[in-house]
Amino acid sequence: MPKQRTPAVAGWFTLDAARPALLGTRCTACGTVFFPREETFCRSPLCQGTEFEEVELSRRGRLWSYTSNSYQPPAPFVPPTEPYQPFAIAAVELERERMVVLGQVVAGVGVDGLEVGMEMELVLDTLNEDAENEYIVYKWKPVGAAASGGKS
């Protein structure tokens, strides 16, 4: 029986497999965008806004920096494979939002394949699985790189 595709965290990204996007919020008073979603108080010091609308963030951005998780991170991280496979982490600057967002880099792209300034795009991939669920998370992938090793 196929496993349930379950977002690893609710409301942070769409589950549109072809064109996934991060979901942030925008203050209706001053227009400032927040990710992860801010829904209570606008964090701009000049704004008293308390109402927010959901927005899809840019699907592409420029690589601000990158590194690796060469050691297995501690819990609550759940290693998707046994033995643990190191992976890269990217910080990507979204041009329109002028915001840097951290994410895992898709399997198969290590730090040797990354460089500050390169264009990255958002994809969905498997974070880990249990008996019933395939937990989905957003990841970054260099534009034009081969598709990820995650399940389709």
């Binding site: 964090r43 990158y66 967002v101 951290l102």
Partner: protein
């Protein structure tokens, strides 16, 4: 001297290590050493400021009162501060404010911790899907060294820094740590040894990332009037900065997933990390050119280079030149981390910012045997931790 200074009457530490005992033991040892150094009796201490113990100590995240109880309840006023890596500086700031306000004459500042092995990870259990510190591990596996790796890799791609440069920071600091009886790691390393250690978060290897340690540090602070009864020329604290960032904060920081958006308000003229020391300099009426010695938070070897720029020793991108020219080595114009830094100590979070001030006090008194910065008159500390905390302290001899 200006009226806004307080005296550092005494300093003391419990050696850093992996001792596995209750944090109170380290705090008491450090406090007793500081009191003895000051020539102040515990019964005369009017105010106790503790840096809050993070984990593996007493449950309940306590500090000031636990150590006061172990020293023997004396009826002093007590407080505890949490500011992540800046916890110790917040305790210093609180004690300093009490003294400058005339509420007390003499205060004990103390921080101590016992740490688990391995990566720091979120305390507590259960799913906390609205807690960024929990989520960063769950969704990204983003340990603290991941953030250090991002900063280091950006230096390489933007400024041309090399892995050998980063290793050289560790080598430099290991020479100082070898001479420091309170340091946990006393071995002197070579660049090749550093580069042969296991990769943790590329480009940073195990020997370039600070460990988690047990340790304790304490200060006895007083008004200048009180100090005059005990000593002729005490080392003083001339400034304490514990500023927050300004919105929009555009550098990704632990434990966040994203920076603020800079699309609606202009980016501040001074970055958060630059502002930490800048505010301290302004309080002290001094500038980076006046600094003879600095203790900065080298959570990674590469991060020490960021600090050279953040505390104004050089412009952005020029830190490696200072390193290569020996400016920041012992014997150079502005030595950095003569204690050996976090690379030689490992991090005992609530004690670390206090330990930085202990080292500068020994340096300014000329008591840092084997690692002395000759003729040092002005020192500055800098640190930064989770949740937008950071601090700098200016110490004058």
């Amino acid at each position: 001297m200006t009226a806004r200074e307080v005296a550092i009457l005494g300093v003391g530490m419990h050696p850093w290590g992996k001792w596995g005992r209750n944090f109170v033991e380290y705090g008491v040892a450090a406090a007793q050493a500081a009191l003895a150094d000051a020539g102040v009796a515990w019964k005369d201490v009017q105010f106790v400021a503790g840096g809050e113990t993070i984990r593996n100590g007493y449950p309940g995240y306590v500090a000031g009162a636990s150590i006061a109880q172990a020293l023997g309840w004396n009826g002093a006023q007590v407080t505890s501060s949490y500011g992540a890596c800046a916890s110790g500086s917040q305790a210093i700031a609180t004690a300093r404010a009490q003294i400058l306000a005339g509420i007390c004459d003499v205060a004990l500042v103390v921080g101590a911790d016992t740490t688990p092995k391995g990566f720091f990870a979120p305390a507590g259990s259960g799913d906390r899907t609205r807690d960024p510190d929990w989520l960063r591990f769950r969704l990204l596996g983003a340990t603290n060294p991941v953030y250090f790796g991002l900063y280091a890799r950006r230096r390489m791609d933007l400024y041309g820094d090399t892995e050998r440069d980063f290793a050289q920071v560790k080598v430099k600091n290991s020479r100082c740590g070898a001479a420091n009886p309170n340091a946990r790691y006393r071995q002197i390393y070579t660049v090749d040894e550093v580069l042969a250690s296991a990769m943790v978060s590329d480009p940073l290897r195990l020997l370039q990332i600070c460990a988690t340690s047990d340790g304790g540090a304490a200060l006895v602070l007083s008004s200048l009037a009180y100090a005059r009864k005990l000593t002729t020329k005490p080392v003083t604290i001339a400034a304490v900065s514990t500023v927050t960032p300004r919105f929009p904060q555009t550098v990704i920081e632990m434990p966040n997933f994203a920076t603020d958006s800079a699309a609606t308000l202009p980016v501040p003229d001074v970055s958060f990390k630059d502002s930490i020391a800048k505010v301290a300099y302004e309080q002290a009426g001094l500038g980076p050119e006046d600094v003879n010695v600095a203790e900065v938070y080298d959570l990674s070897s590469a991060l020490e280079l960021d600090w050279y720029e953040n505390i104004g020793l050089c412009k952005p991108g020029e830190a490696v030149k200072l390193l290569r020219d020996g400016v920041t080595s012992l014997g150079g114009k502005q030595p950095v981390n003569p204690s050996g830094g976090l690379g030689a100590f490992g991090e005992a979070i609530p004690a670390q910012a206090i330990a930085q001030v202990c080292e500068l006090t020994w340096q300014l008194r000329g008591q840092a045997a084997g690692r002395q910065v000759e003729g040092a008159r002005v020192g500055v500390t800098a640190n930064q931790g989770l949740f937008g905390h950071g601090s700098a302290v200016v110490v004058k001899g």
